[in-house]
Symmetry: C2
């Protein structure tokens, strides 16, 4: 149910590109077809498991906002950015031993770690094959490769800082930029490039994507502290349990009267459920939530301001609505 609602909500925001998003589903299904039956089966499972398709949606929005938009030319790259996102989630689920994602069984739960790691690799390669020989300029492949490297580097940075307490805003923002915001920034920039926009417009689109991405990840991190389990589809305090220190926690570590207790909990690799609940209490009582909300709102303002003036009409409305959606989302 939850998945369907999320999907409807994003479909509503991106209704201006509804035909393109429909074609995307078909392109994804075709891209994951394979003469090896098991690969085809896993591919179909992953496409059907859904997802918000936020990355290709932003890319297609940016592309369609440009004068020289050509749906046929734009589509393989839309599928490629979603495949990269899907592949990284498949590997994340292996790493986290996750059993379900969006209410559906994960690839590792269904087919084992071995097959899941290889499936992720296969999808990354499929993404790169979608952009070669398709008449894209060579810097598109380069940006895609840089995107994956940044994504991995962000995760590696995060993993090497798990269960530590010496974080600050700057380090946090660098980490979420690499993990999330740069991806959305590159999607918007790629849309501009494929749409034939000027360097200036591409830079504006990229800045919009970056700011929206920062707000998106901060909101995600906020929801882990404030959200109820049923609505967000995973138990609250999941980041704390996994040793990931987010903005509300960093604020609480800085200013909460119970900061020493919080520090002891979040650096404990064997923390109990009770400890997670107590940590959430401390964070919720601090100004961490308010600070994170302000920070997310500031990034959304930045996104609106970054939007190039050449982007008008329905395209502009869609970009502004996407920013508004990220600001108020509660799942």
């Amino acid at each position: 149910m939850r998945i369907m609602e999320n999907k409807r909500e994003t479909n509503d925001i991106f209704r201006w590109i509804a035909p393109e998003l429909e074609l995307l589903e078909q392109t994804l299904a075709e891209a994951l077809a394979s003469p090896v039956p098991l690969i085809a089966e896993i591919g179909m499972h992953l496409v059907r498991s859904g997802g918000k398709r936020l990355r290709p949606a932003l890319y297609l929005l940016a592309a369609k906002s440009c004068e020289r938009f050509d749906e046929k030319k734009a589509m393989p790259l839309a599928a490629a950015v979603e495949l990269i996102h899907m592949a990284s989630l498949v590997h994340d689920d292996v790493i986290d031993h996750a059993e379900t994602r969006r209410g559906t069984e994960t690839a590792n739960a269904k087919w084992g770690n071995q097959i899941a790691v290889l499936t992720g690799d296969h999808m990354f390669a499929r993404a790169f094959s979608l952009v070669s020989r398709k008449g894209y300029s060579e810097d598109i492949g380069d940006r895609l490769a840089a995107l994956v490297q940044g994504l991995c580097a962000g995760e590696i940075l995060q993993d090497s800082a798990l269960y530590t307490a010496n974080h600050n805003l700057e380090e946090y923002e660098r980490r979420i930029a690499m993990k999330t915001a740069d991806f959305l920034a590159i999607c918007c920039e790629l849309g501009g490039l494929v749409g034939g926009a000027s360097a200036e417009v591409c830079a504006g689109l990229k800045a919009y994507g970056k700011a929206v991405g920062m707000a998106f990840q901060i909101t995600d991190d906020l929801l882990d502290v404030t959200g109820d389990a049923e609505r967000i589809g995973k138990p609250a305090g999941n980041d704390i349990r996994q040793g990931v220190v987010t903005l509300p926690v960093i604020c609480a570590l800085d200013a909460s009267p119970a900061r020493e207790e919080l520090c002891t909990i979040i650096t404990n690799r064997n923390m109990t459920d009770e400890m997670v609940i107590r940590a959430l209490e401390i964070v919720r009582a601090s100004d961490g939530i308010a600070t994170a909300r302000i920070r997310a709102a500031a990034y959304l303002d930045e996104a609106r301001r970054a939007l190039p003036e050449t982007v008008g009409g329905e395209a502009r409305d869609a970009f502004l609505e996407a920013a508004a959606y990220i600001g108020k989302r509660d799942f």
Copy 2:
């Protein structure tokens, strides 16, 4: 010690491209440099752990055998094919929970599965970034992407057939082609393409690589049955233990008087060391080893015949020596 000997032996075979192989090591080290200290550290560990560099060596050999060879232009792609090989080994080691490779600690043993999976992803992406913006034609990126997809598909095929007994020569050869031989074939073909060879010469180089790759994998599979643990650097019967059914075993399953006992052992996911030893006895007593040797030799003949006539002099000697080395290698 073993590693150094292997390395010296391959260096000797590929002495005609010694300067290029030296530059390759430098290019690899540069390619794995990173502003994220942990990524740089893991990269150095992996480059220093060595390996035969067989794939980039065949590529460089093919490229240097062509008239329009340009070392500077050829080098990034040489590093890219080795990075793809390294990345797939890093993921293999995660999948197999391997603690050491070539006598050195694996990335997963040293840094954990999480970091190792991400490091492999990062290296795949690095490989693709090495070939974009380097003036290579766009079908080079396409071939590289196809290579990774084939590699993964071969492994997935193999994994979905683990601990089963209904194999035949055709299925086995399809599997090792995807897993190994197609990689070597593409390396040789890429060398031709980068060297500016004609379509005919490229096809000949590719056919050489494919046949040499088939012989290489059959020999590898043979060594798992015949080799002593110390020399090959892993316990004999490793494939049998892991449920991988290779050519000598397929022959024994077909014709050994003890074929039913062998079938019972190799389909047992909980086989003991004693069962592995008994399976090896049965296979060694069958004609499986002789059959596999004949098959490998036939492929090496095919490789020699496939070598384009335009490849002469020192280049031809090196190609023939590489084939001879694969025929007689015992590690």
